[in-house]
Every structure is written in C-alpha cells, then in structure tokens.
Symmetry: C2
Subunit: 379 residues, 2 copies
Amino acid sequence: MKRAKLFTPGPTEVPPEVLETQARPLVHHRSDAFRKAHLEVIEGLRYILRTEGPVVLLASSGTGAMEAAVVNLTRPGDKALVTVNGKFSERWAEITRTYGVKTVVVEAEWGESVAPEAIERAFEVNPGVSVFFTTHSETSTGVLQDVETLARIAHDHDALVIVDGISSVCAHDVRVDEWGIDCMVGGAQKGVMTPPGLSFLSLSPQAVRKMTAGRHPCYYFDLLAATRTAEKGDTPYTPAITLVFALQRALQMIREEGIEKVIARHAANARAVRAAVRALGLGLFASVPSNATTAAVPPPDKAAAIVRTMEERYGVKITGGQGKLKGKIIRLGHLGWYDRDDMVILISALEAALVDLEIVPGLGAGLEALGKAYRQSTP
Amino acid sequence: MKRAKLFTPGPTEVPPEVLETQARPLVHHRSDAFRKAHLEVIEGLRYILRTEGPVVLLASSGTGAMEAAVVNLTRPGDKALVTVNGKFSERWAEITRTYGVKTVVVEAEWGESVAPEAIERAFEVNPGVSVFFTTHSETSTGVLQDVETLARIAHDHDALVIVDGISSVCAHDVRVDEWGIDCMVGGAQKGVMTPPGLSFLSLSPQAVRKMTAGRHPCYYFDLLAATRTAEKGDTPYTPAITLVFALQRALQMIREEGIEKVIARHAANARAVRAAVRALGLGLFASVPSNATTAAVPPPDKAAAIVRTMEERYGVKITGGQGKLKGKIIRLGHLGWYDRDDMVILISALEAALVDLEIVPGLGAGLEALGKAYRQSTP
C-alpha cells in the first residue's frame, strides 16, 4: 500500500516543508527573488561547511562536482595522490586518470580507512605530488576518514587538498577553513535533505589562485565563471530553480536546529543503529564507522534477501553492497532528516526480516539495544 | 501582490499538474517505480523528437548537454563548421574552441538565419569538416533556421549534424530521424514545460559509432555510459529524481494534446503576437521568426523601460536583449504552456506599458490585432 520509506545512503527522505517549495509557481532566475534565495543558500552552505570562502552551486549530481574539482584544480601533467578505500573514492582516481593526471593511489581494504602514515610515506616516495584527493565518508563502506589529519599531512607537502564530503556534510564535523580544505564537494540529496540534482563546492584562496593560473578545458563546470557570478546570486547557465528554493528551505531548517545539534543527532542515530546491529548478531563492516550509513555484515548469501524482505514486507528501503561488496553487506542509511522514531522503524523492519529469514530466533534484541543506546547518549 | 507571470524564453511557466509531482515523497532511483518513469520519459522524448534512436537524459541545464555533445561527438583535431547568428549559437563555437576543435564559423547578422548557400560554400572551401553544429531556434534573436535543409547539405559533405533544439522542441516540427539529425539537444525548462535542471539528447547510429570509436575525455557527461544504462531505465549517477517525475507528467500532457496540436498552438500564439507587435508600431527583429519567442524592436532607448514597466506595473515578466542586443530589443516568450488567454495577458501588459511610456497614444490596437489573428488562424 505504502511507498517504501528510504533508509538509503542517498537520496534520503526529504521533509515535506522542503518538498512543497518545489510545487510553487516558477520564479525566473534573473530576478531579485531568485538571487536572494541563491545568496541565502550560499550563506547556508558556508555555515554548514564552516568556511568564509566562496561556495558554488552546480546543477548536477555530486559526481559532476567531483569532475568540476578535477578539471578546475588540476592541469595536464599534474601528479595527484588519491586515497582509495571504496567505490566512491575509486571515482576520484577514475576521474583524475580520465584527464591524464598522473595518479598515485594509496589503497586501504574496503571497510578500513587509509592510515595517515601511509599518506605520509606516499608523499615521501612520490615527489612532485601537487594535489591530494580524499573521501571523508566513504558511502560504499560506511567508513569515516580522519580528514583533518590527512589534510595537514598533504599541506605539509604543499599539495592542494580536495575532499569528497558528499555523505559527511551535516553528519560529521566539517571545518573547511580550520582544516585547510581547499575544495570540499557536497551533494543536495544527502545531509542537506534536498532532492537530487544540485551539488556544491567550497574553494580556498589557493584553489582559486590555482584555477586562475591554468586548468583543463571546461565549460559547463567552469568554476571561475560560477564563482564570479555567484557573488551577485547569479549563475552562468540556467540553475535548477525549484531545487535551489528547496535547498534554501532545508538549510533554514538546519540553521533552526543548529549544525552542532544536527551532527549530534546523526551521531546518536548512528550509535544506536550500530548497537542494534550488534545485538542482532550482525557484524559491523567499517573499522571507523561514519554517522551517515551503517554497513552491516549478515550471514553469507543473506544480504539480498534481507534487503528485499525489508522493502517488500516492511516498506523500508535499505541498500546492499556495491562493486566487490555486492551480496556481502547491507547498508542502513541514517543521513539527513531522521530521528529516533525513524531508527525504530528501521531496526524494527530489520529485526522482522531477520526473523522471517530465520537468521535470528525472535524479535526484540535489536529494538532493546537501540533504546538503551539512545538512553545512554541523551544527556 | 502577485508573482510576475513568466513570458520569458525559458524558464517558462510550468503547469500545476507538473509542479505538484515534485512535492511528493522521494522515490529511490534504483527502484522499479523510478525506472518505469524514466523509461516513459525517454519514450515521450522520442515521441516529440520523432526518433526511434536512443535518447539520454542528463541532470544539467541545456548548456551541459551542448558540452556533452561536443566532448562525445568530436575528437581533438576534428574540424567543425558552426553557424553563428546569436548568443546561443555562439556558445557552440565557444565550446568547440574550448576543446581544441578547429572551428570554422559561418556567421549571419543577428536577426537573420544562415543561408543554405553560405553553408554549401563553407563546406566547399573548408575540406575536412567532419561535424556541423547549428541552432534550430536562436533564443537570443527569435530566429528560426531551416535545419532540414542545412542538415541535408552537411550530410552531403559527410558531416555529423548536431542541432541545438533547446527552444524549438514542441514549438516547431522536429523530425530527428527523417532529417538525419545525429544529435538533437533539448532542455526541460522550455517547450516541455518542466522546471530547469534536466537536459536531453538524441543520438543517431552514426553518432553512437563515432563516440564509440573515440572522443574527448569525459566522465559526468559520458554519453556511452548514459546510453547503456538508459536502456534499463537507469542512470550512471544519481538522477534529478523529482524533475524526472515532473517531466514524465509534462510529457503525458503533451501526448494527451498531441504533438501536432502542440506545435499548431505555438504557431497560432506566435502569429497572433507578431500581429499585435506590428499593430503597436514595433518592429519585428527576426527575418524568419521562431514560434518560441518574438523579438520586437521598440523605439531607441525604450527597451529597458518597457521590460521594467511590464513587470512592475502589470506583473508580466518578459526579457530584453542579450549581448550586443542589450537595450535594443524586447523578447516576448510564448514557448510551452501558453494559450490564447495568456497571449491576451501578455499583449494587454505590453500595450499598457507602451501607453504609460507614451510610445503609443492609446490602448486597443494590439489586442484587436491579436484577436483578429486568432480568428484567422482558427479553422
């Protein structure tokens, strides 16, 4: 009867207050009303990214913004260091290679984060690296990386630091200016609770200087043009107007709650879900778990059945593994507009599916552990 | 009190039935419900483009699709012929030059269309041209081009034919397969009555062959990946889900009306607006006018005041000229979801502004001419 509720790593559920803005009659983008909304969105993004620098909005999904970062912030012949520990960090390396950037990859097992020592060593044995790409929260594995430390090492070796924050923004502390992130990439359909179709990037003064001095050919993703026009609330090309108004409303909600509380809510939800997953006898896949997504390890060959049962019988859509993790993990999303009640729905469906599939003997253990974890995390 | 109603060349007004689809709770893109909608959208686009070939949807504005056409359908070292007769056709040449494509430009005065003879001659004196770029309806000047004839000439010289149909689709007959258009580019916020943020392209077998054999580096705009995934209703990256459902509804409305009637409605509106503009003593800028937009020439130095007065006093948003036409023309948009009543609103506001600005002595001539033109065009 009902649409499956989304507990996916993105797109995530969007608040009705945000959805309904899209149903309003269209406002032209060359108008004061649009410019005002666009400028407010940029301010809101600066607030959650903790930056005073330029932030640019693009009409594309997050991958478009990743490509924009590569074509604007590298040049042919540049050497880049890329951390790879999952499907989305692999994407950085795919894009840099697509553009002929010499790409040094530092890998960690999927499920692990890349050790700072490995990055330190890679910079030492690969002289001439000028750009460092990494991933804050690896959506395919649910792993969080210590971006603050990694950025410090990269800066010590004079590399520009470019971070995929697509699934970390709003779920974790993100301090673009304090940590010296030269470019942080985000997407609308994640922590900022907006339908997909928008992405955004922050740019440090060093990033702006580098792209001004030279870059790959680009047109739609020309970040210099976008930065220049954004100052007045304009865009070089027609923006996704309804989505910009949706993002404006979502950022208002985040400001009303306060970014610290938003992050604390994500931490509490993630902690409780992990406790429930453990209590149900499933393994936790990520060595350092992200607050965005919990990757859980069910018994062999059961992942697909769990995902299907949760959706078909209980109206709860989670996702399985991607790439080489297909069939091996399940991913429980809690990024964005979710509270304790939602986690009760999520874990209740997981428990029920595990009982149906005879993986656990009876109901209760998951919800009990969930409730206890919330009690402990509430001040 | 009221929001200004849009009579702009894009974004255009969006029907409430289309807007409201965006207010519905989000559906995940890896789901049968989304795939079904996406496949229906592709079928609907095939219907309006009159093609049996692949059609690809992108989460970007129309310019993104133009760039996608260039990077996928040219290679470094290719020689391209580009018609330029306004701001948007200039964009083709800007993008081809950005990617190092040898670019031969055949210009016409802004307001004119490029003569077939000039194209014939250009092919003769520029051997080795392998790609031809042109613009069906030049939104900056309101000029229509005879794409059928131009495509025939280009094919006679073995060039791939790539057409910007962003403001012609639904306003004019577009016959991709019959005319041999290898790639037709469109945007959602135009004739297909959807909020901005989506673009689309058709691809002929020759276009697919060419991009399979070699192209520029690309990632987000990889049309081979997009074509492959589109067959099953999937996309390589997260699609703009709410906009896809909006486009689905808009295309249903176009099918219900019938594409021939949609085009005839555009023709009737455009003819009536031109009659009204002439009756009000303004010049018509386009030698061959498009049904999308009427570019009118007011007395010197009056364009900005007319645009402002129409919006501020009468709640009707039109636009002025762009680039070198700034301050010289006004553009009255009637592309998309507009009928006779809307044109009455548009011309009534134009008349009133012209009286306010003492450009015409009294009200009536415009609306009278509008009404007469509709009487003549109704069978």
